[in-house]
Each structure stands twice: as structure tokens, then as C-alpha cells.
Symmetry: D2
Subunit: 334 residues, 4 copies
């Protein structure tokens, strides 16, 4: 921790900082510059973290030297970690394509979609049973029926199943049916949900919040990891900016930044980022080229009949065509 004092900081104020550092068991180191005094604190920085150090009189800024995440940090596994989603590996060189409808609507539609995406090369099936909707009047998902359909279709096609858990009281229920539990963007900092997921023995797909920084995404992963679940997959899905041509702005830089900062696998969700089907191929290929370990994308046999988010769903034929390019680009970058 480095303390930069205000220009006119008094000796008493400097001494006070020195004492606070010593009281916490670190060793202070005062350096008087031409215009400012700087105080370094050597030792276990974590003991000072979360204290309101900038509130100490005479202090202008406090700069942490270390990263606030540990278990999520790249140093833990420099060559990366592979997470197994129902037997399909993602990360550390393994790539996973996950596709399916936004929402589970009925068994036949789901079965047809699964069959088609599997034929095109998808290795996992997505679909929502519990939907977080902005409006209380909107369809909120089929609930446990949706989970059953997912399991049945996933088993039939040999595809592991990824689905969202919205309510922390449903973690066990969802974990019974699904191979991977997804945390939606709006729940990225629902810390109690993260704690529950830390106690489950299923992989968690953690989506970045709409205005979450990369650091905050890693801190949310840290919640799950610290609670004992080591199978976390990070997912970039678009952040909120002033641009209105797209639903979100896919932060493609986040792929490389996350892979540099963390050992965890990184997925990209081009469907929610774009909110428009016509952009999905472009974003998917970009994500693969950028080094993403996986893609989670929405596919629907009849988008205009979809109960939710049909605007961003690919037709199966389009998905099939895109998969060929995905594989070709994957060969270049892997």
C-alpha cells in the first residue's frame, strides 16, 4: 500500500499514518519528495484493504500494490484451468460451443433445436427455465418443467445442459438437472447467490454485469471460489454504453484481459451483447479470434415465434454455416 500525502500534510499527520500502518503489523517507510510525502507500507497488504485509509487526515490518495483477487488470479494456475461441463472441457486449450434457445418453451421446439445445433457441432445446450425479466408482466419461464425438458433433451442428444439460476433458493433444484449453473448479468453481484453457488459441486457460468468492471467480475468469481467451488467460467456479454445501435457493447478486449489476469476459462455471449441476430456471426468470429474458450449463443427454429429475445436468435441453418468458420478460425488461434 502506498500513501500519497496532500501537499501541506503536517508532521503530525504523517506520524499518524505511520502509527496506523504499524498498528496493523506492517512496516511504514516515509519518503519526503520535493512536493509530496509518500509513505509505503511493507507487509501483508490485505490487513489494510477495506479500511477507509483515504479518510485519514492529510492523505490524498492510497494506492494498493496488489490485486484484490487471489484464487481467481492467473498466478494460481499459470497455464490455465480446464472446467468440465458434464464431460465437455472448456479452458486450457479446450473450446466449447454452447447453443440453444433463449427460453425453454416446449419439449418439441427444444428437441428440434438441440438436434440441429448438435449436428452443426455444438457441444452443449443452453436454455432458460427461470428468466430474469425487466417487466413483472413478462413471461418468467417454465420453471422446473423447463429444467426437466432440458435434461431429457440433453440426455437424448448427449449434450450437457447450461441453464440460469435466478433465485438462490433454487440452487439445489437447478443443480439436480443442469450440468452448469449460469449466473445472469443482473445477478453478478448478488453475493448471497454467489455464496450458495460456492457450495455446489457443479460448474458455474458467471456473466459479467452490465456495468461491472473486469476487476469486479473477478471479485465475484472469487466469492464462489473462496466458498469452495473451483469450477467457474467467466462470461463477457456486453456492457452498457451510450451506443444504441446494439443492446450492449461487447467488450472484446475483456477476453484477453481476463485471460491475462485469471486462469479461469472465458466465454463470450454474442447474442445478448448484440440483441440483433444479424450481428451475431461477426461477434462470434471476433470472440473466437480474440481467444475466447467458448461461445454461448441463441438459436431458435422460428425466431419470430420465440417467447423471448427472438430478435437475437440465429436460425439453425445460419448457425451451421457459422460453425464452419468458427472451426477454421479456432485452428488459426489455438
Amino acid at each position: 500500500m502506498i500513501f500519497i500525502m496532500k501537499p501541506g500534510a503536517s508532521d503530525t499527520e504523517i506520524q499518524h499514518v505511520v502509527e496506523r500502518i504499524e498498528k496493523k503489523g506492517l512496516s511504514p517507510h516515509v519518503s519526503k519528495g520535493t512536493e509530496r510525502t509518500i509513505i509505503g507500507a511493507r507487509g501483508d497488504e490485505q490487513k489494510l484493504a477495506e479500511l477507509p485509509l483515504a479518510a485519514i487526515p492529510g492523505v490524498e490518495r492510497v494506492i494498493p500494490v496488489l490485486k484484490p483477487y487471489r484464487l481467481a488470479s492467473r498466478e494460481v494456475a499459470p497455464s490455465g484451468t480446464a472446467v468440465s461441463v458434464g464431460g465437455v472441457k472448456i479452458g486450457a486449450g479446450h473450446f466449447m460451443m454452447c447453443a440453444g434457445p433463449c427460453t425453454v418453451e416446449s419439449l418439441p421446439v427444444l428437441a428440434e433445436t438441440a438436434r440441429l445445433v448438435r449436428a452443426a457441432g455444438a457441444q452443449a445446450l443452453r436454455g432458460g427455465a427461470f428468466k430474469p425479466r425487466t417487466s413483472p408482466y413478462a413471461f418468467q419461464g417454465l420453471g422446473e418443467d423447463g429444467l426437466k425438458f432440458l435434461r431429457e433433451v440433453g440426455d437424448a442428444e448427449g449434450l450437457p445442459v447450461v441453464t440460469e439460476v435466478r433465485d438462490l433458493r433454487h440452487v439445489e433444484l437447478v443443480a439436480r438437472y443442469a450440468d452448469c449453473l449460469q449466473v445472469g448479468a443482473r445477478n453478478m453481484q448478488n453475493f448471497d447467490l454467489l455464496l450458495e453457488l460456492g457450495r455446489v459441486r457443479k460448474p458455474v457460468l458467471l456473466k459479467r454485469g452490465l456495468s461491472a468492471t473486469i476487476k469486479e467480475l473477478l471479485m465475484s468469481a472469487e466469492y464462489i471460489l473462496a466458498e469452495g467451488n473451483h469450477e467457474v467460467i467467466l462470461c463477457e456479454r456486453g456492457i452498457r454504453t451510450f451506443e444504441t445501435a446494439t443492446r450492449g457493447t461487447l467488450d472484446i478486449s475483456a477476453v484477453a484481459v481476463l485471460k491475462a489476469e485469471s486462469h479461469l476459462p472465458v466465454m463470450v455471449d454474442p447474442s445478448h451483447a448484440a440483441g440483433r441476430a444479424d450481428l451475431v456471426e461477426s461477434l462470434t468470429l471476433a470472440a473466437v479470434a480474440a481467444g475466447a474458450d467458448g461461445i454461448i449463443v441463441e438459436v431458435h427454429p422460428c425466431p419470430e415465434e420465440a417467447v423471448c429475445d427472438g430478435e437475437q436468435a440465429l436460425l439453425p441453418a445460419k448457425f451451421t454455416e457459422m460453425m464452419k468458420k468458427v472451426k477454421a478460425i479456432r485452428k488459426v488461434v489455438a
Copy 2:
């Protein structure tokens, strides 16, 4: 609902839109312009809402005519609604100042703070017992003990108590002790928590999410209202932007926009918006001048010893001084 068709939309595509509108019980109205065809849908727009209408072939854009919120809308109570927080009214001409520490740390510190803010004119006491913290390693609050201290001190000083509920399983517990349940910014779209709060008979202070639009804040209020709890207070607390001089950017325009759009009382939290004590007075006075119905602000007798967010806490003496100006400005705008 207005459908703007693509430049080259075919008659078949236009006819298809007409049929979809009719199937939902609305009456379509086709208007062929020089360059585009526009189709209006008269009738109950809600029946079309949430459908992926932009996914219909030939459709370029779909524009809703009505607002998606109803119970939160100004039309419900054009002269505004007053909510009673333990007997203290806010809204419809009533102003409430709520002050206290970020986190409940101990009974003596809380008691001292409450005594001082009450003497200065505060009408409610704030304090966190369950804290949403970005880091799993940070102090998460005293839990039920914190609630007990709040109740005890609130009763002693005659101040109603406002505190956050973080976990939806704690709603009943918190409601037993508190006069008003706060939803933190990170939980604004934790829809299951909102549903639980809709079933409680205590007012809810709903904070705007860090990247939530004003419309989304109102939709989250709608979740609580639609579930049967009509006592919702909206709170602007700073949104996330590129500016780094402050923790968030206080969206002062939101005060007037919310009051124009909704009948619900509007509070402002200058402490979290600024993240720096030296800006709190300026933001508080601005919020009062802008027409806010209440302020929720952090005060601590010794900010640098605060266990959380001390950087943004006012000293009691500063709070007292600020209250005089608050009252004077209130007289100008009320």
C-alpha cells in the same frame, strides 16, 4: 405499437405483420409512405409487449406508444404519493432527512451518531447490518445484532430505522426490526428479492442500479407494487460513467425525470454517489434544490475508524452545518 417496415418490405411481409397484430386482438392500420410502410396497431398494446416483433421478416423497428410501467406511473396519483416511514412522511410535499453510519459497528458509536444527527434535524436513522461487499474477504456486517442495535437506538432517539436487506431469505427478519427496507443498487434487478419485498407491509427504499436506466428503476418498482406493496421510495445514488474523480456520477436530472414520470417519492444518496466526504454538502444541496423528497447520507463520528466507506462519511458537526442550508433551500423550492 408502431411498426416501421424496411425500405423494400414486400406485400407478403406487410400482410404477415397485419395478421400477427389481428391475431393478438388489436386492429392494424397500414400507411404507405414515399419510402417506408408504417403499420400502427390500435388496442391493448400490452398484448404485444415482450414479443420479439422486430424478428418478423421485413420489420425494421417497432416503437411502443405507451410506457411499460403502470402502477409506478404518475397518472396513478398525479399529485404524488406520501410514504410513511415509521410515522415520518416522505413525498407529496413531505421531506425526510435520513442519516447515520454506513455500517452498524457497535452500540455506542451508533447511539452517539443517532443522537447527533437527530439534534441536527435528521428524521430517520440509517445503518447497515447486512453489507453487500465487492470482496468476499471484507467485513459483511453484524447481521441480526446490527438490526437489534438499530432498533434500540432508533427507539431511544425516536428515529425510524432504514436498513438494507441483501438476502431474500432475510426479508422477514429485517422487516421485524426496521421501519424501511433498503434494496441496494446491486440488487435493483434481483427480481426474486423484489417479489419478496412486494409481500411485506413495510416501505421499501429502492436504489437505482449502477447502470440502470430511469425506466428500469421504475420497472423494478413495478415488481414490488404489482405484488401488493404500495410503499416504494425511489433512490438515485450515482451511475457509472467514465469519470473517475467521483465514485459514481450523481444523475441529478433523474430527480425531476422520476417526479415527472412517477408518483413515488424520490430520495438521493449523495454519499455513495461521491465516495468523498468533501463533495457531500454540494451534492446534498443540489439534490434538495432539484426537488428531491429526501436525502440519505452517511455520518460517522470518526470516519477514519469506520469499518466501511469512511471516506464518504460526514463528521456530525459538518452535518449540522449542512442541515441549516438544507432547510433554507427547502423553503425556496417547496
Copy 3:
């Protein structure tokens, strides 16, 4: 300047940084912590500024200790600077209300507006002769005729005149007619225009860019100041965020931050921030309460006939009513 080295930085890398610091005439100071090595550079930090120090092998981060602006800094004039706009002072305790139409349209409309705002208490007249328009097909202003009308009306009413200069070749021309030259938000980092304005002997009203940080606004002021013009007025006019209910998001915190960082007067433009006349009073009063030294606001006798930005123009009667509240709040905070 503080250099934080990467975890595994070698002695050679550390030595290399030490040498680069010494070569620039500063004295390096190496501090080896438990996990990182930190190197402080004592001396004239400006000699290191603008160098790509983070590109030096082994360096993780470089943290400047000093602010990059000097002449704009508060330290230059701790009690603040008053700028005189054609005899009307702003800053250091002086408040200035500047009002008028967005664009100068005709002499009679301008004269009527000026008469009405002056009667209500405005001390300066605004109006655009050279308009920066997003579309090449939109009206771009009356040019020199507009300047003449402004001068004529300003003289008749005894109001100094504030108007925008868009093209750096027009600086002299505009300076001949106007009492204060305005730099529009889109030109805040048009550095050649700033340099020209630095050579003029008229005050400059510098608007913050749509996505400019407070620091960048001050750096742009520094361009003008460093060139020799010491009369700069800063203006917050709304920044760009994801919120669409308003044209921009008025960063009300910027008022207090700018006043803490700089000695220059700070104005607020509520009209462009809101983009809607119904919010202008709320934002104006907020800005005055926040401590702004002046307001620049759009007033038009018939907004729907305005050639530009009529949506955000106040009617004269509304302006008159608002001025009473402005004066009352000013008394509270001054």
C-alpha cells in the same frame, strides 16, 4: 513518479528503471516489498511525464504523484479567480446568469429575448452565430450578421455578449464583436483552436466535452492559460452516458470537484444537459445550490419556432419565475 514492478521483475530490469530515472535528472529510490519492488523517483516529475514508462520491461504500473495541470490548479489562486465578462464579474464570490436563444435568428427576436431576460435579472446575453451541427444539412447560423445583431442588442440592453467560435480562423472576427468566446463541447480538444484563444484578450468559456474527464477539461484550460490568456471560465454541460431520458447527464459533482481542483470560475449549462425545457429549472437550481459561479441557459419567446434546440428553451415567463428562486438559493450558499 512511482514505479510498481511486476512480481518477478529481475534485478536487471530494476537497475534499468533506476538508470532511466537518473538519466532524466531525478533520484530513484528502490523499496523491495514482500511481493513487489517499488521505485520512487524524486525530483521534477514533469521531466518523466509523457514518456512511455509503462513500456519499460518489468514495469507493471507507473503512478504520477503530481497533477498534470499547473496554471489551472487551485494552488495558483487559493481564493479563486474572478473573470470579467464585459464588466460583469464571475467567480471568487461573483455570480453571473447568462441567458438567450440557442441561435441568433433575427434582430427582433433577439432584441425581445434580451429585453425580457434582462428584466428578469440576467447579466449576460448568449446566442449562437456559428453553430456546430451534427448534420451538414442543418442550419449553421447567421455568421457575422449574427455577431452584429448580438453586439447591437447587447449594447442596447447593457448586456455583455457570449457567443461560440467554431472555426479557429474566426477567432479574431468573433473577438471583435463578443465579450466572451465560447468553445463548444465538441471542440474542447480542438487544440489548435485553444491555442488561438490563448492569444486573444477576451475571456473564454470552455465547455466540457461529451466524454471528457474533469482532468481533461482542466488540461484543455491549461492550453489556453499556458498561451497567455488567463481568463478562462469552465462549463459543465452534461456528459454522455447510457441514460436516454435526457440529452446528456449533468455531472453535478463536477461543480464541486472543479472548484476544489481549480481557481477558475465554473458555469453550468442546464439546457444542453437536459435537452428538455421541463427539466431546466430543476437543474439550474441544483447547479446554483451546488456552488456554480454562473449559469448559461437558453430562453426563447416561441420555442417551437426556434431554428435550433427549441425543445430545451425556456419561455421568458418561466425564466423570470426561475430567477427568483435562483436568487434565493444563491443567498443560502454564497
Copy 4:
């Protein structure tokens, strides 16, 4: 143009809108719905554009049906336009890699860089002679000497030259030496500079502003096109968001959106978006996969000695390695 009236709009207000539409030569069409009246205006929408229609009493919203840009629009050249940069084509299937130092520092460094990037496959040379710098105290470029070095080295290597013009008085000067004139992000809405560039017979590389929408970028291109210069290349270079891990957030979706909306070639600048050399390859490959027509990237033989932006410059060896992947991905998507 579609007018949505307020809920209680009176017949007089509706009639007033009807008359204003008719006065402009369009034909109004009134549709009274259950809750709102909607008025369509058929005819040449451009006649209504830029009028403050939302200021008309009783009007809630005004929705344009057409896009505000025409010459930049895809409809002008559905199969895309190729622009020739000194003989090298970009757009309509042609890809161009442009590389070089941020700033021209000296003839030998520029010559070495040019030789190396050419050997690796670059088809154009970039380098700044006039630098827009945030600080007035920073190095502002070599000026005309820089232009001479660029021309000399470009001719020697057979590489066309791309360089920025910052001051509109330098347009002719820069056009004498360069094959393509670049408009920096901060000048995207320097409309007078755009007008000057519209009169030049050299291609213009127009960078998107830090907070410019895609629509605004196209409107700025329209300024150049409308003035008579049809050779405009659009460039995405990162927008400003709350994320601080990168200098900007590369809006990768903009590539596909721009190509859908416009016939003009689209480049991506990964160096300025990232601000960090370690991310440049990932972003470059993503941009190529997303369908960009060209890349403009910074390369320097010794980044830590660069006078500007060395943090984001690639080493020539790294560039050479990256070029192989660029070519391979280009084959997949072209």
C-alpha cells in the same frame, strides 16, 4: 416523421401539428388510438428534420422514419465502395494493413520500422507529424519535417502514407505529402476541418470520437461526402466507458453495424483502443474476423524509447508473427 401526442392532447393541439406539417409540404395523417393520438407525416421528411418539433405543445415524442445520412448510406452502393490509398485498395473485398510508429521521431527509426512492417506484409505506413496531445507541455510532433520523412520513407519502401491533420489550415500542406489524411477521434466533430477535407482530392481516414455514436460517425462522414470528397474510410478506435483495464473499449460490434449501414470501408485501430501492447494481437484478430476492411496499428522498434504512446506499440517481430494469423483469418472470412 411520426408524432406521438401526450395522453391528454387537445383537438386544438392536434390541429396545430397538422397545420405545421402541411405548411412544410408534407401530408399529415391522424390516427386516434385508445390512449394516444398518433400523427404521421408523409412526404419529404428532410423538410421537418432539425426543427424543434418536440417543443410543439401537446407533442410527447417525434420519431423520424428515415436515416439522417444519405451519401454515407449503404443504399448508395449496396456492394460496398473500395477506396484507393496511393494505389492500395481498401473496401469492397480489399483488405489493407497499415502499420508504423505513433509519431515520426527521426528518419532512421521511421525507415527501419517501415522496412520491417513492409517485410511482414503491411501495405501502408502510418506515423504522426502533428500530434493532438492532452497536455500543452507534451511533444506535439515534428510538423512538416515529419511529413517529409514519411514521404521519403514511403517512397523508398513503396508504401502509401497515412498521417493525421490536426489544424484545418494544414490540410493542403498534409495533402501534399500524404496519400491519406487522418482525422483524429477528438476532431471527429470539428466540422470546419471536415468541410476542408471535403474539398481535398485525397482519401480521408475518419476516426470515431471517444463518445460518438455510430450514427454520429456517419453524419461526420456525410460532411466530407456532401462537400464532394467521396473517399472516406471509417475507423473504430475504442469508445470511452467505465472500464479502466484498457484505454478505451473497442466497440467490435461497430464493424458489422457500420458495414450494414454504410458502403464505406471500415478500419479498426487496436492500438489506441487497448493502450497496451499485450492486447493488440487479440484485438487485431478479432477485428479481422469481425469483417474489418483494414487495420491501422502501431509498431516501434523500441517501444520504451518512443516519444509517444510506446505502451501500445508492437515490436516488429510480434507484428510479423501477428500478420501470419491475420492472413489466415482473412481467408476464412473474406
